[in-house]
Amino acid sequence: MKSKAINEISLEFPSRSSNEGFARSAVACFAAQADPTLNELEDIKTAVSEAVTNAIVHGYPDSIGKVLIKVRLYSGNVLEIIVRDRGRGIQDVEKAREPMFTTGGAERSGMGFTIMESFMDALTVRSVPGRGTSVTMKKKLAPRVKAGT
């Protein structure tokens, strides 16, 4: 059984690389209500940047398509981020998740999924060739002791 989100947002934008900065900042702004530490906020921005870049570079290599982001905040300070494209899809997800593996040429390092995995608590990748890719990331934000309590 899945609990209901306390709050959620949806974003949709064309797969232009100039939107990468907007996307990670927008998600970080939404996450700020959960009172994350600066490190957690930077980790979220970095993971979102990787997922969005993948959608732009690999989902739509030769065209501009739509990138969709859903962010949900659950009780217990759990943040769920879904980055989705309706692009080309990934032929072999397991291979794509291997460190240093890339089909993106010398511009890419092949470390995107490794960084998402290391900065978030959970990472799920679903992809159907020709239909698109969906990346779901979860992170539990550490509870913070409020000043003066």
Binding site: E20, T46, S49, E50, A106, R108, G110, M111, T114, I115
Partner: protein
């Protein structure tokens, strides 16, 4: 993403400032290669002191610069890496491949 180049006695210093993501790295990659090819340095120092955000695009840039320097029999080091960029480099294990100081 802006890059300032300073070259003296075949030591090339590249100072990066701004956001080093896929969008920013596109031009940066080209600029780094052109600057290396023009200066033909023995040592290359990448100063990340002004980098406000970095993702794996920064790793690709460092590895590309390193390949270029290997062709010239030169060395590469990265310095003044801010904490966020440092965590990205550590997650990818880059300190095993490139000198970070």
């Amino acid at each position: 993403m802006e890059i300032q180049a300073k070259s003296a006695d075949r030591n090339l210093l590249l100072e990066f400032s701004g956001e080093l993501d896929h969008h920013g790295a596109r031009n940066a990659l080209r600029e780094v290669e052109l600057t290396i090819d023009a200066a033909l340095p023995k040592t290359l120092l990448l100063d990340f002191g002004g980098v406000t955000f970095m993702d794996s695009s920064g790793i690709a840039l460092i590895l590309r610069a390193q390949q270029r320097m290997q062709l010239l029999d030169g060395s590469v080091a990265v310095c003044n890496v801010p904490p966020q960029a440092r965590r990205v480099l550590d997650a990818a294990g880059i300190s095993r491949l490139v000198t970070i100081r």
